[in-house]
């Protein structure tokens, strides 16, 4: 249950912490805050948060350094917030151990969705029977996927990719994760990325054929893919 989960926000802007407190507590989470890097690092160790929301633009210590120090001691999921939205920053954040990256300004609903997605990952892997995401419906036991009530024909590989994306709804799934979990290949293998691209493209075509506007597989350039509902 993600209700009551402890969220630590590390951001030096008071007004940002204010609206995050408002948004997170209204979603039933327990809100904790720190206004600089040093405070954030110590809070992450002493207050046992379930999720950490970290702003990169901190006044005392470089945001990436704070991330590194947190990662050294814990596996707590970290969502990065930053005004910078270049691909390089996003890639670096994920390589340094962040679980997701949201650029400012952002919709509070978007952040809530990412927090939920990251918490879902923490749950013990239950043998779920079905999953509903918008108009998409997956029956894991029968390995059937349907959109708007109509079953769609997909290959076993496409099923595995879609399943991984949907289970991580809202969160970015890196190319590395997809390649290793679905194909058992590494990114560097010749033709691996191409294989992944083609599979996602076919999936998009099949999903959009049903004309559902709400489901999207968004490309995060040079990082991976994200399944979203709008």
């Amino acid at each position: 249950m993600s209700e009551g989960a402890r969220i630590l926000v590390i951001d030096d802007e008071q007004n940002i912490r204010k609206f995050l407190k408002s948004s997170l507590t209204s979603n039933g989470y327990f809100f904790m805050e720190a206004d600089d890097g040093a405070g954030g690092i110590s809070a992450s160790l002493n207050l046992h948060p379930d999720v950490i929301i970290l702003d990169l633009g901190l006044p005392d210590i470089d945001g990436f350094e704070v991330l590194r120090r947190i990662r050294k001691r814990s596996k707590t999921p970290v969502i990065i917030l930053s005004v910078r939205d270049s691909v390089d920053d996003k890639v670096r954040a994920l390589e340094e151990g962040a679980d997701d990256y949201l650029s400012k300004p952002f919709d509070s609903k978007e952040l809530t969705a990412r927090v939920k997605a990251v918490l879902r990952r923490l749950l013990p892997v239950e043998q779920k029977e079905v999953l509903e995401a918008g108009k998409l419906y997956i029956d894991f036991t029968k390995r059937i996927i349907s959109v708007n009530g109509k079953e769609i024909e997909i290959t076993p590989t496409e099923y595995e990719v879609l399943k991984l994306l949907v289970v991580n709804l809202g969160n970015v799934v890196t190319r590395r994760q997809l390649l290793s979990q679905v194909w058992g290949k590494s990114e560097k293998t010749e033709g691996a990325l191409h294989l992944l691209n083609v599979t996602v493209r076919n999936l998009r075509a099949k999903l959009s054929r049903e004309g559902d506007e709400s489901i999207s597989i968004i490309t995060e350039p040079c990082i991976g893919y994200r399944f979203t509902l709008k």
Binding site: P105, N197, R201, E213, S216, I217, I218, T219, P221
Partner: protein, 337 residues
Amino acid sequence: MRKKIFPYLLSILFVTIATFIGEAAKGILEPTNISMLYLLIVVLSAVLWGMPSAILTSVISVLCFDFFLIPPYMTFTVSHVQYVFTLIGFLIVGIVISVLTSKVRDAVLQRQTEKLQNAILNSITHDLKTPLSVITGSLSSLLEGNSKLREEEKTILVKDSLSEAEGLNEIVNDLLEMSRIDSGALKISKKPCDLRDVIDSSAEKMRRRIKNKRIVTEISEEIQEIPLDFAYMMKVFNYLFDNASKYADGGEIKVKASVAGKNAVIEVSDSGSGVPERDLEKIFDKFYRSANEKRAKGTGLGLSICRGIIESHGGRIHAEMSGLGGLSVIISIPMEK
């Protein structure tokens, strides 16, 4: 380069013509009267092309005047001392006219540029201040009438503020991107990419924006991997698809890609109302917005940003009228590293 030599060549031509006229009038008019003709040409040159060509005109005029029209003819010597004064006086007057006339010309050009700059600044001011006005206005109204407003009214005020803020964010991003391009701070990192992937990713991202339009792709088999910056190329297609959706209702957006020599040529065409022939190059100007369309939202920077990104890739971009009646944007990108 050609453009720069033109004024000088034309000036020399004018001097030649004046000299012929002078030759014809040799017996009839005094040389000093003919010199007025040369001064006229100096003025003409100054007005049309500015100081450097006017000064060239002055010097060549004096030389031609001396050689052809002052006795002894066909030499640079003069038969009478008075002619030395004529020539010196002529040269001085010529140069003074060149300088003064070109100053006036520069001032006029300056004023035209300022007018254009003001128009652009006014446009940006409007684009930035309008959403801010909605946000400030809506939120302060909310605060002011908090107890008296119904829930739906409050929700509308908040929703409007949110939507204007999102629009403002896009404008700010456009301005930042344009700034980066102008200051040369745009960093492209090329990696071999599948063009189909770029187009597909962009189409997916823009899906809600494009709504009722289909994107049809026709990509030649010869196109394998191209060295591109994936994220920036995606931005280019985002802008192109966004434009096509803004300025073309219904119909489809066609993306064709093929190989031409060492380049990949990509054509994005829509079936909208298109752009008049004379504006096909202007649409790439910063802040250009088509005058006849109802004022669509956006900074007018999209195509200039696209050009900046494509040129950073070593490629070119231009527009033509599309066969479908609308606009066709054509990109050419080198396929080798």
